[in-house]
Subunit: 272 residues, 3 copies
């Protein structure tokens, strides 16, 4: 049997040794597991950013992978610690919504609230549950513990509200920017599958064509296209759309059929 | 037998390929070892920061783990290269104090000065001992070499001076900030175990309560509490204490018994 | 047989989950391979920086290692995707010159243009070939596929122009800064092996001695020395040469024999 994999997504950075402490605890409890760093650079306490990142890779890993997520601004409060199994992968995370983008799409879902008494190790600190709760819980799962051995089932995990996306009767789609990535791409929640004759997008005062690939435009031009998560993204070829358009998470974005509306409102215009 | 683990802590960053060069050399000499990145983002040449980070995880890894630390502003000078065994873990590092936080607490300590002649590979560069000295030394240990095969015993490793922490006769504890972490927490050297009726802390002009968890205060408030390393930390819930209090490494911090001192000095005050 | 290693060099950062997506795809197709992060922090779209980083480690890894490089500003255009074998290591990368520093020195070179039809998985996105093309191609190689199974041979990979370095008849060497590293070292393309009595270097208005190690100078002083890649570097001991000298990639650097030129032009001067 090939060793199980475990991924680690945190807002710890690496310079304080916190991420390494988590990895050391896991290695001590379950020496065979392979640990992949997903990221330790999630912005401090940004649960939505953690949820978005996790949404991009959890399902690409093999079944039985354990995904550990510690973006935990509520450490030391009464928030629960969760372990879950969703579509064959296992998860360990605080109960603060960071699993929302998985819950949005997963079919089979089982969740338990972790009972600290089920874990090896000493009394937990009040400030570092990554090391003291999530790491031992994940390591136990990695070495074969069943979900039910870690705690009791719950059915009400905290969920982040999903950003709204609606289609008007005229066919205009109104969504919003849900993530700005490292390249400055403005990723929206407008599903690519909803596009049907929509040929341009609007964000603030800017209108841009909806295209298929970056090769449709010149360097420095703005394009909306269906991105790698299957939703509409606003991009600048060889540039940074967020900087150029001065836009951020939450900005409203519209997908429109300009030709149709053009033919309806502009006297002499025709569809191209 | 499960493969041995090796951790890597450097100030190399990753963009220059230096960290990957170290990993490649190790993999070529000892192909079975598992390499965990602890961090490559220690501030350039900041030996104290490296020492602090290492202090947080070395003991959490399994026995026989090899911890490689390359924060080495003295590369190319006469400083020695060390290999050590402390409390069952192995270490490879320059002799500049970066092992100090381990030496502070380890029971069983054996150290050798690495003899470059004991290493595989060509003549070492004068600028990159991570690749040319520390990586081959660590790889040899990872694949079973004994400490004594790498060099001769020494007993005088360079040690960073420990920050002072003292208790006055009246019971006030005076320590200092020894680390500022990514969250802006001001970690002090005041041992949590010394606290005995101390109910507030002072840092510069600021006084804050000593509490138990972040749930003791409101968002944005300042709290001192015993952190994950067992010492007093000054924190802001959902905020950045270093930025808010304009404090940094070396700042003096006091733990006081305000109720007692209050009852002694304030005419009408009583313990709460 | 020990498991094969695969390294990953990208400009993805880690916070968007893109790097983890690549790792998940690889792990799903070839579960035994060991993945080392080389870097995910190459500056966005900086092909030359990626090429330089790769040049520092590819040959240090064991034979049969798969090096995956995704610095791919041309994703979604007609640029080819390559798989290659060079001096016993395997490579997967876009055809944009990012393999140039390997091609410069490798003896045995075989390259194919990847045929997406040879890969497992669904239709590729237009924006994320790291996940959809390079990861599956690399995973197939890692689990034993032959280069020829991925596509057809090509002999004209895109190559970055090598920076010029020339020797005058008087023996002065003129090169340029080809990389600025995290420490601010200005790495040039002047081969250390060309130095022959050259005792000082010139960069802009600054002249500095050519020495052997940092211990030749005091803290804060400027030195040129042969660095870890075998070429001349301009460094400041305990400092940042790029910041101090206000220099960057492309700056002209000269290695001169000041004693000889001094003895030729200065009436009373003698070689030291």
């Amino acid at each position: 049997m090939s060793a199980r994999r475990l991924t680690l997504l945190t807002d710890f950075g690496t310079t304080d040794g916190y991420a390494a402490a988590v990895k050391g605890v896991i290695a001590s409890i379950c020496s065979t597991v392979r640990i992949d760093d997903a990221s330790h650079e999630i912005p401090r306490g940004d649960v939505a950013a953690g949820a978005w990142a996790l949404g991009g890779y959890w399902h690409l890993y093999p079944r039985d992978t354990i995904h550990v997520v510690v973006v935990d601004p509520g450490v030391g409060t009464a928030r629960r610690a969760l372990a879950a199994e969703m579509d064959g992968r296992l998860f360990v995370a605080p109960d603060n919504g960071v699993l929302s983008r998985v819950l949005d799409v997963a079919g089979a879902v089982r969740i338990v609230a972790i009972d600290p008494g089920s874990l090896p190790g000493d009394v937990a600190s009040n400030t570092f549950h990554g090391r003291d709760i999530f790491a031992p819980a994940a390591a136990r799962l990695a070495c074969g513990a069943l979900l039910g051995e870690l705690g009791s089932a719950i059915t009400d995990p905290v969920r982040l509200a999903a950003a709204r996306v609606v289609r008007s009767e005229e066919g205009e789609i109104a969504g919003e920017v849900v993530h700005v990535d490292r390249y400055g791409n403005l990723v929206t929640n407008i599903p690519g599958a909803w596009l049907d004759g929509h040929d341009s997008a609007r964000l603030g005062l800017h209108t841009m064509p909806i295209g298929r690939t970056y090769s449709d435009i010149a360097s420095g031009d703005v394009l909306a296209l269906v991105g790698s998560r299957g939703t509409l993204e606003v991009s600048v070829r060889d540039g940074d759309a967020a900087a150029l358009l001065q836009a951020n998470r939450g900005a409203a974005v519209y997908a429109v059929r300009s030709r149709l509306s053009g033919s309806a409102t502009g006297p002499g215009r025709r569809p191209a």
